[in-house]
Symmetry: C2
Subunit: 218 residues, 2 copies
């Protein structure tokens, strides 16, 4: 696969939401920041190679082979993201562009060893699961922290309320995007939670918990 082919495959994969839904030419063009006519050209090539199912005017979907390639691509991307954030102290916004380049490096050993170097992570810093070498992908769901069952853990991926006071609270309590949160116990009286975050145990109100999104691996 060429660099460009790999990018198209990943775009089709993501637009199909990981499921194998059919994707429109226009959608791919928009995602790839290119023209629909270029997309048609490339899709034909991918179709000839057995990577996508294509019926003119009806859209594309990945074949099983195509999905395998997409998942391997996603695996590489997410492992590199973990590497950049954990080992090279990149920040969230700096990671994507570089991972986009790194994911095209061709070496099976490189990815296997990188995986090992990182301690075989299961999710990337956005809480999205990392496909296994064989292409198995765990499902994740996004839940408000107050709906997360006791004993479960997830990664903090967003806020419902983005008002300055709330963000200030998070900052003061050292809660940031990407942090892993484990729900320890729930206070029946007021619905407040005891959680563990970065080795420390804290107590937060239901009001806080109902404004924080976690991503949970099932």
């Amino acid at each position: 696969m060429t660099l460009s082919e790999e990018d198209y495959i990943k775009a089709i994969y993501h637009l199909g939401k990981g499921e194998n839904s059919t994707v429109s030419t226009n959608a791919v063009a928009y995602q790839m920041e290119t023209k629909p006519s270029s997309v048609t050209d490339m899709i034909k090539k991918l179709s000839d190679k057995g990577v996508v199912n294509y019926r003119p005017y009806k859209g594309v979907s990945l074949t099983e082979y195509g999905q395998k390639i997409a998942l391997s691509q996603v695996r590489k991307h997410r492992l590199w993201e973990v590497f950049l954030l954990e080992k090279l102290d990149f920040s969230w916004d700096e990671v994507h562009d570089v991972a986009e380049q790194l994911e095209h490096i061709k070496s099976e050993k490189l990815i296997d060893q990188l995986d090992k170097h990182l301690g075989f992570p299961e999710v990337d810093p956005h809480g999205d699961p990392i496909p296994s070498k064989k292409g198995e992908l765990k499902k994740t769901i996004k839940k408000l922290l107050n709906e997360v069952p006791i004993g479960a853990s997830g990664i903090c991926v967003g806020v419902k309320d983005s008002s300055p006071p709330f963000l200030k609270f998070l900052d003061r309590n050292n809660i940031a995007l990407g942090d892993t949160i484990l729900v320890l116990e729930k206070e029946e009286f007021d619905g407040s939670l005891y959680i563990r975050i970065k080795e420390s145990k804290i107590h937060i109100s239901d009001q806080i918990a109902s404004n924080l999104y976690l991503k949970i691996t099932e």
Copy 2:
């Protein structure tokens, strides 16, 4: 710079032995595993961009700008080599191809942070110096171990005698390519040496020392 341009620049740099000697079209073609006519095409392009000095039929050399690019390329290549060998447990022969790909990733921060992650190494696993961010390059020389002055250290890069008995000796004494050797003391009587290698101190005969090449940073 495109991927291909960067490869040509590096080839011209290496053929010019790091010095700015003029290089023939044929030599570049051979190095790049391509045809001389392709080289002429590319050289013209690089000349237009101010990367090389080119006079038809007379060969090419890098401009100052071209040399800067080449050194930055070499820096990236060698840092990635260190990473692959030290962090990902690659072996010598597996490193090159992958580093060749990695060196094309475009991100200044990536290289700076990688450098830091590796502890700012001064030489790569072959004993070759890693250019600084500003493009400064230390000189190295290859010497037989018995000619290395006391107190100096270098990296084991080759053998003069490659007979099985000698290689077996090295193996038994846990001396391998890439190891750093420090010369501690010389026995006047027989020229034998006390050296430090991988935290241990050993004693080797002059005969051994005169068959091992070290690369030394001046």
